[in-house]
């Protein structure tokens, strides 16, 4: 027994260390799963209005603006014309805008797009991508740079000053 004492000690201390390390890592990792500014934007695939599929990684190399919205959310509706305006402005400047609709019936979304004459892609989500991005309130706009990293997360209706300055800053860098 005395001969193996050293091995037993080492084994036990290593086992405790491993359990401790795993627990710590797991806890700290868990807190990190909600994407924040600076973290990588999780990839996703969502259908559009005409059953085509949109995948985030298809837009690598472009600046991507994700806007989480719903027709039942008045501030989301208010900022739509502004977003359409800037979509047209930045059309040839490597910027893509994806409006992710949460839980509206398809008919309502189509009617809305027609009514407000929106030309940017509208994607249909049912809380899946919203949860992945940790979005709790609408509208939330997430600006992703060409390398797939989240640069800005904005909650609430954007005003023109904010949208134009953010896009300008990202497009020039």
């Amino acid at each position: 027994m005395r001969k193996y004492r050293r091995w037993v000690q080492v084994f036990i201390l290593i086992a405790i260390f491993v359990v401790g390390g795993l627990t710590l890592a797991d806890n700290l990792f868990r807190e990190d799963t909600v994407p924040k500014e600076g973290s990588k934007a999780p990839n996703f695939t969502l259908p559009g209005l005409n059953e085509q599929e949109y995948e985030l990684s298809d837009y690598k190399g472009k600046i991507v603006v994700l806007n989480f919205w719903g027709t039942y959310c008045p501030p989301c509706v208010e900022e739509m014309p502004l977003i359409q305006n800037y979509y047209e402005k930045y059309a040839d400047k490597n910027v893509e805008i994806l409006a992710i609709n949460e839980n509206d019936p398809l008919v309502s979304v189509k009617a809305f797009v027609r009514q407000y004459k929106l030309t940017f892609p509208v994607l249909l989500d049912k809380d899946i991508v919203r949860r992945e991005y940790g979005v709790l309130n609408y509208p939330t706009t997430i600006f992703i740079n060409e390398n797939g990293k989240i640069e800005v997360i904005f909650e609430g209706a954007m005003d023109e000053a904010f949208l134009s300055s953010t896009l300008a800053a990202m497009a020039s860098s």
Partner: protein, 553 residues
């Protein structure tokens, strides 16, 4: 500096031994008279090395009982602090960072910033538990292995000073019965055996021992605690623990987060006690006392397209959930928690009536995911827009107040006989109150002369009445926690209910009897027992007289 640890009996003891492993002679305190320190039978806890390596230092740190007690005390204090404000897991839909500051001010802000708002799941709390676990393992190992070795090879004839300095001692002469020393010893054997002792004799010396297994009790209960702690930590593994609340509207399958399951509330029922069923004190007060909350639940599992909008669901379980009678499927439990009356139209069976009162249809119109096109010969309806909760804003433009179909409005483009070729707009409100509110007939002026769209009777309207709130739980670590707890209790019972008793007897010079006895607890009991045994052998002695040294029972 070499410490001479060779006993006068010839046995070589490891450094740190208090009582000789062989004959029990006290090595350091040869000429003292105080009762011996019998902890672990006086063996060395572990060998002290001259140059302790890091491993030795860490081991020594955790093998100290003082450190263990300090750790337990720290965990106790931290756990108390965790009860000052409600923990994060008691809330349903609140952002913790905002809540603590707004409800409790600066103290709340500090509380949240320090991580105390989720004390029992925080990494430092778990780390403290792991340190206690380490302490448990290392303390136990450090003591149980030498103890086992010591108790396994016990000498029958111990050194005189070992016997004389026990806490239960008798010194006297052989009773005048003419028996020789070894004969007397042999007479004691059956008396002791009757009292369930295991007796070993060596001519004129005797060792009687019973209930040694009770010494292992504390180590068994430590094993139980370690299993318990590991099981608690395992709860942190993904998929091992869940405790969430979700609302289930009648008729709509809802996804249970972090699982492949969907649960549908087919129907919710609430029953109240009738006046006759109420106890007399409650009657006549107009009190509505609920008797039954029941959710007819269907559990589905997603088999394909699980992360899309249209998952394929397969029914796997059906159960009626009542309060305290949860739905059970594999590890998943769903408890009835609450309900709310949320009257909503789910779908309407709608018919078209033309100006001759001829009916066409019916066709099903869903308020949750309505289709875009409906073909009801000879009419074709295209749904142009749909508002679940129709309202007009201050500019008179329509919008929807929420996602819930509380005031549904369907805007159709109708094509058919007597209607314009490109179609005519018809607004349909399934709820009569909305028809009045928004003057459906006025809005549809012109078209309403030719057709009308509506439900024939209340039977054609499918209404959800209730939303049932269920507490969805999963705790896969529970069986292991129970196992740890049971083992712990076994160890506690072993250690507390029985005591390890040993009696050493030696007869010197054919006449001098020296008896020493030791027990792990309950000294009163062993004194009484020894007095009885000696009484049966012809030596009369009161239990009190056997007591030696510091007065403790």
């Amino acid at each position: 500096m070499l410490h001479n640890t060779k006993c006068e009996c010839g046995h070589q003891n490891p450094v740190g031994t208090v009582l000789c492993e062989s004959c029990g002679k006290p090595l350091d305190d040869e000429f003292g008279t105080a009762p011996l320190e019998m902890r672990y039978d006086g063996i060395a806890r572990r060998s002290q090395r001259e140059n302790p390596v890091l491993i030795d230092r860490v081991w020594r740190f955790f093998s100290s009982v003082k450190v263990a007690i300090i750790l337990i005390f720290i965990v106790l204090c931290v756990s108390i602090v965790g009860t000052i404000y409600p923990q994060e897991n008691t809330f349903l839909n609140v952002d913790p960072a905002v809540y603590y500051e707004t409800t409790y001010g600066l103290a709340g802000q500090i509380y949240h910033a320090l991580g105390l708002s989720d004390t029992y799941n925080s990494w430092w709390y778990k780390l403290l538990l792991i340190m206690i676990g380490a302490s448990l393992i290392i303390c136990s190992l450090d003591r149980v292995l030498p103890l086992y070795r010591a108790l396994n090879k016990q000498q029958i004839r111990k050194h005189l000073s070992f016997l004389v300095r026990q806490r239960v001692v008798y010194q006297g002469q052989l009773p005048a019965s003419g028996l020789s020393a070894s004969a007397f010893i042999n007479e004691l054997v059956p008396i002791l055996k009757k009292r369930r002792y295991r007796v070993h004799t060596d001519g004129t010396a005797l060792l009687a021992e019973k209930h040694r297994f009770s010494r292992w009790g504390p180590y068994i209960n430590h094993i139980g605690l370690i299993i318990f702690l590991l099981a608690v930590l395992m709860r942190g593994l993904p998929g091992w623990y869940m405790d969430q609340y979700s609302g289930f509207l009648e008729g709509v399958p809802v996804k249970i987060e972090n699982t492949p399951y969907y649960l549908e509330n087919e129907q919710f029922t609430v029953e109240y006690y009738t006046e006759e069923e109420l106890p007399s004190e409650f009657r006549g007060q107009g009190r509505a006392v609920p008797k039954l909350f029941e959710t007819k639940a269907i559990l589905y599992e997603c088999t394909a397209n699980c992360s899309t909008n249209q998952p394929e669901l397969k029914q796997v379980h059906r159960q009626n959930i009542e309060v305290n009678k949860p739905l059970k499927y594999k590890d998943l439990l769903a408890y009835q928690f609450d309900y709310r009356e949320t009257i909503q139209i789910r779908s309407v069976n709608v018919s078209i009536t033309d100006e001759n009162n001829q009916n066409f249809g019916p066709f099903e119109l869903s308020t949750i995911s309505p289709k875009e096109t409906y073909v009801v010969d000879p009419y074709v309806l295209t749904l142009k827009d749909y508002y679940p909760e129709f309202a007009l804003n201050d500019k008179g433009m329509p919008y929807t107040k929420s996602r819930a179909p509380l005031a549904p409005a369907f805007i159709f483009l109708v094509q058919g006989p007597n209607l314009a070729e490109e179609g005519e707009v018809f607004i349909y409100f399934p709820r009569d109150v909305d028809k009045q509110r928004f003057s459906q007939d006025k809005l549809n002026a012109g078209v309403s002369d030719m057709i009308d769209i509506g439900a024939a009777s209340m039977n054609d309207v499918d209404i959800s009445q209730f939303t049932s709130f269920l507490n969805i739980r999963m705790d896969r670590a529970l069986p292991y926690i129970f196992t740890g707890g049971v083992i712990f209790m076994i160890g506690v019972i072993m250690g507390i209910y029985w005591q390890h008793r040993r009696i050493w007897i030696r007869i010197d010079d054919d006449r001098e009897i020296t008896i020493g006895a030791h027990t792990s607890k309950n000294w009163f009991g062993i004194r009484k027992e020894l007095s009885d045994v000696l009484g049966k052998a012809g030596i009369t002695v009161e239990p009190k007289q056997l007591e030696n040294g510091v007065k403790q029972s």
